[in-house]
Amino acid sequence: MEAEANSGSPEDSWAFIQRPGEGCRTVPLAGHVGFDSLPDQLVNQSISQGFCFNILCVGETGLGKSTLMDTLFNTKFEGEPATHTQPGVQLQSNTYDLQESNVGLKLTIVSTVGFGDQINKEDSYRPIVEFIDAQFEAYLQEELKIRRLLHNYHDSRIHACLYFIAPTGHSLKSLDLVTMKKLDSKVNVIPIIAKSDAISKSELTKFKIKITSELVSNGVQIYQFPMDDEAVAEVNGTMNAHLPFAVIGSTEELKIGNKMVKVRQYPWGTVQVENEAHCDFVKLREMLIRVNMEDLREQTHSRHYELYRRCKLEEMGFKDTDPDSKPFSLQETYEAKRNEFLGELQKKEEEMRQMFVQRVKEKEAELKEAEKELHEKFDRLKKLHQDEKKKLEDKKKSLDDEVNAFKQRKTAAELLQSQGSQAGGSQTLKRDKEKKNFYCFTVNSAVCCMLHETQGPAFFNLVFSSCTKSKGEDCHCRRVRVPYCLKSETNQFPLPPKCVRIHTHTHTHTHTTQVFTVSLCPGKTPSPDLRGILNGSVLC
C-alpha cells in the first residue's frame, strides 16, 4: 500500500533492509488461519477499557436540555433547573456511569447555564469556546508529555454539541447564528429544534427549510452523518435530509395500548415522544447513539482535535519544514520549558526566602517593641510601688509622731489627772473614756462559755453599757480580735496593744455584763497599779 520511508543512510553496511516493490501482493490462503477473530479481539479490548462519550448541550434556559438528556438515556440525571438570573454563561459538567449488558459508558453531559439570559449577549459564546478549547488543550498536554498514559486517559473532549433552537417558527436568532458559527470548526454541531410541540406541522417544515438555508448562507458547517459506509449510508442519507431534528423531551409515562410510553399531556391531546409522526426524537436517538457514536468520536479526534493541535503547535512556533528539524525543535522546546520552569522555581524560592526574612525581621521588631513596653511598664510599676511605699512610710512616720505626741500628752494628762484625782473630782466615764486609760477586766462566765464554744480565735467585742456613744460615732472603734487565754476563773486578757473599743453582744446571754468601752493605747502594757480584778468597772 505505501512505500516505507527510508531506513537510514545507505552506507550502513551491517543492516540492509529489503522491501519488495511498492505494492503488496494479496496472497491467497490455503486454509483457515483464524484472524477473522480480530474484530472481536479489538472489541473485547475496547469493552474492557470502556467507552466515553461527551455531549455538550447549548441552548437558552428553559428549552428542555436536561429533560432531553433524561429522555435520550432513559434515566433521571440529577440536577435542578437553573434560574434566569445568571450573570454570565457558565458550563456545568456532570459525568455518569452507564452500563448496558457488558458495555460500560462514561457519559459526560455539559450544559450551558445562563446562555441567552443576559441583556448583552455579545460574549455569550466565549465561555463555550473556551471550554471546548480547554478540553483539547488538556488532551494535547497529555499527549505531549514525556511520560504519558494515553490509554488510561479520560477523554474529556466534546464529541457532540447539541444546539437547541427555540421554537419561534420564524428563523434563527442572531445569537444562534453567531454561536454556531464559532462552534462549527471546533466540535460536531447538531442543531435541534427544542420543544417542538409548540409548532404545528406545516410551520415546522417551513421552519426547517428556513433554518437550513440560513445555516448554509452563513457558512455554518453542521455535522453531516457519514455516508461512506454502505451499511449505514442509506440511513444516514435520509436522516441528513431531516436535519435539524424537531424533538420533544419528556420523562412522564402513560399507558397507551399495553405499554408505557413517554408522553406530554395537554388538554387537547397527548404528544408521544417516541412516535415518529409526532416528533423526530427517535431519529435523533438513532443517529446520535445507535448508529454514529463511534463516528462522532472519530471525527472529534481526527478532525477537530487535529485542527486544534495544528493551530496550537504552529502558534508555539513549530514548523514541519523538514523532517530533520522535528525532534530537535521539540527537544529544544522541552529544554527551554524545563529551564524556564527551573528559573521560575528558583525565582519563587528567592521570593519566598525574602518574604520569610522580612517577616522574621518584622516579628523581631514587634517583639522588641513589646519587650521595651514591658520594661517600661515594669519601671513604672516599680516607681509606683516605691511611691506608695514612701507614702506609707511617711504616713507611718506621721502616725508614729502622732502616737508619740499622744503619749506625751497622755503622760502629761496622767500627771494632771493624778493631781486632779487627789482633788477628788468625779470623773464621768465619758471623760475617762476620753482620757484613754488602761483597763483590765474580767468577762463573766457566760461570755466565757460562749468563747469556749467558738473554735479558733474569738472575735471578741466588748461594749461597756455606760457608753452612750452609738456605734461608730467618734470613738475610733475598731473591732479587734482579742486573743484570749483562759487561765483561771478570773480571766485576764492580755490587752492588745492598740487603741480599741470593744463591743459585746449582750443580747446573746441573759447575764448582764458590764459593758465598757475601753480605749487602749498602743504599745504600752498596763502598769501594775492599774491592773485589778474588776467586773468591768473602770479602774482608775
Partner: protein
C-alpha cells in the same frame, strides 16, 4: 531509575477521570450498538501486523511462517549450493495482504538470515535492535508532525518469534544475550524449533530448563506477567506461560493421513502432523499469535514498548544523530542508561501502565 509503575486499575478509573455517578437506565437505549459501529469501522480500515522471526539458518523459520499463515509467504530457502553464507546479518521483509471472512490483514514478516551463523557472533543483535528502534522512530516522527496523517502506518514490530535450536540442554549464551536485550524492546515469543528431533520427555525437560534459564536471567517473554490486568487474564496467561517455549514443527506440504489431508512432515517412521496437539504445539503458537492475542500484542507494543522508546528518545539532553548507529541498547556506552549484570534491568525503565501486582521480577 525511578520505578514508574503507575497502576490504576484499568477497568474502573482512569488517571484523570472525574467523579462519576452511576446511573440506572430504565430502558433500552442502545449503547451497545457502539460495538457494532466499532467492528464495522475496524473492518473497513483493515488490520496490520508485523512479525519478525529470528534464529539460525536451518531452523525452519520460513517454513514456520508459511505454515502459520497458510500461504507461501516465503520461498522456503534451501541451503543453496552456490549461495555463500552472508557475511553480515541481513533483514528481509515481505508484506502481504491476506483476507479472511471480510477481515483484511496486512501482514509484514521480517526475516533475519545470517543471525548467529558467523564464527564471531558478537553484537549480532545490533542490526535487529536497530531495525526495531527504527520502526519506533518512524512512528514517532509521524506522530509529532504538525499535520499528521489520519492513520499513521504502523510498521513497528509487534512480535518477535525466536527459534531456539533443539539441543535439549540449555539456552546457549547467544540465546540468552539476545533474549535479554530484546525482551525489553519488543514482545518476544521463544519457540523450540524442529521439535520433532526431541522425544516428548526430552521436550518437557528441555522446556523446564529453558524456563528456569529465563527466570534466572530475568527475561520476560510474552505474555508478560506484569501486564496481566485481571484474574481472567492471569489464569489464561499462566496457562500459556507454563507451555512457553512451544515446541513446534513447521511443514508446508500436505499428506494424507487416515483419509484426511493434513499438513505434516513425512519421515520414514511416521508422519508428524503439524496440527495435532499430541505431536507438536504448533496450534498453541498459532492460537496465541493470531487467534487470541494478536490485538494484545499490538496493544502492548503501542502502549508500553513504544512509549518507553518515546520517553527514552525525548529525554535525551543532547542532540542525537539520526540513523541506526546510536540505538545500541547494549549495556556498554555511558550515554545509554543501562547497567550490567545478568539479573539487571537493561534498557529504559518500563512504563507498566496496568500492572496491578508488583511481581518480584523486575518488569
Amino acid at each position: 531509575m525511578d520505578p514508574l509503575r503507575q497502576s490504576p486499575s484499568r477497568s474502573s478509573s482512569r488517571a484523570s477521570s472525574p467523579r462519576t455517578l452511576p446511573c440506572e437506565m430504565l430502558g433500552y437505549v442502545g449503547i451497545e450498538a457502539v460495538l457494532d459501529q466499532l467492528k464495522i469501522k475496524a473492518m473497513k480500515m483493515g488490520f496490520e501486523f508485523n512479525i519478525m522471526v529470528v534464529g539460525q539458518s536451518g531452523l525452519g523459520k520460513s517454513t514456520m511462517v508459511n505454515t502459520l499463515f497458510k500461504s507461501k509467504m516465503w520461498k522456503s530457502t534451501m541451503p543453496g549450493l552456490g549461495v555463500p553464507t552472508p557475511q553480515t546479518l541481513q533483514l528481509q521483509s515481505v508484506t502481504h495482504v491476506i483476507e479472511e471472512s471480510g477481515v483484511k490483514l496486512k501482514l509484514t514478516v521480517t526475516d533475519t538470515p545470517g543471525f548467529g551463523d558467523q564464527i564471531n557472533n558478537d553484537k549480532c543483535w545490533d542490526p535487529i535492535l536497530g531495525y526495531i528502534n527504527e520502526q519506533y522512530e518512524h512512528y514517532l516522527q509521524e506522530e509529532i508532525l504538525i499535520t499528521r496523517q489520519r492513520h499513521i502506518p504502523d510498521t513497528r514490530v509487534h512480535c518477535c518469534v525466536y527459534f531456539v535450536p533443539p539441543t535439549g540442554h540449555w539456552l546457549r549464551p547467544l540465546d540468552i544475550e539476545f533474549l535479554q536485550r530484546l525482551c525489553r524492546t519488543v514482545n518476544v515469543v521463544p519457540v523450540i524449533a524442529r521439535a520433532d528431533s526431541l522425544t516428548i520427555e526430552e521436550r518437557e525437560a528441555f522446556r523446564h530448563r529453558i524456563q528456569e534459564n529465563l527466570k534466572t536471567h530475568g527475561i520476560e517473554v510474552y505474555p508478560q506477567k506484569c501486564f496481566d490486568e485481571d484474574i481472567n487474564d492471569k489464569i489464561l496467561n499462566s496457562k500459556i506461560r507454563e507451555r512457553i517455549p512451544f515446541a513446534v514443527v513447521g511443514a508446508d506440504r500436505e499428506h494424507i493421513v487416515n483419509g484426511r489431508c493434513v499438513l505434516g512432515r513425512k519421515t520414514k517412521w511416521g508422519i508428524i502432523e503439524v496440527e495435532n496437539m499430541a505431536h507438536c504445539e504448533f496450534p498453541l503458537l498459532r492460537d496465541l499469535l493470531i487467534r487470541s492475542h494478536l490485538q494484545d500484542l499490538k496493544d502492548i507494543t503501542h502502549n508500553v514498548h513504544y512509549e518507553n522508546y518515546r520517553i527514552f528518545r525525548l529525554n535525551e539532553s543532547h542532540v542525537l544523530p539520526r540513523g541506526p548507529g546510536w540505538v545500541n541498547l547494549a549495556p556498554a556506552p555511558a550515554s545509554v542508561p543501562a547497567p550490567a549484570g545478568p539479573q539487571a534491568n537493561p534498557g529504559p525503565p518500563k512504563v507498566g501502565g496496568w500492572a496491578k501486582d508488583n511481581s518480584d521480577e523486575e518488569c
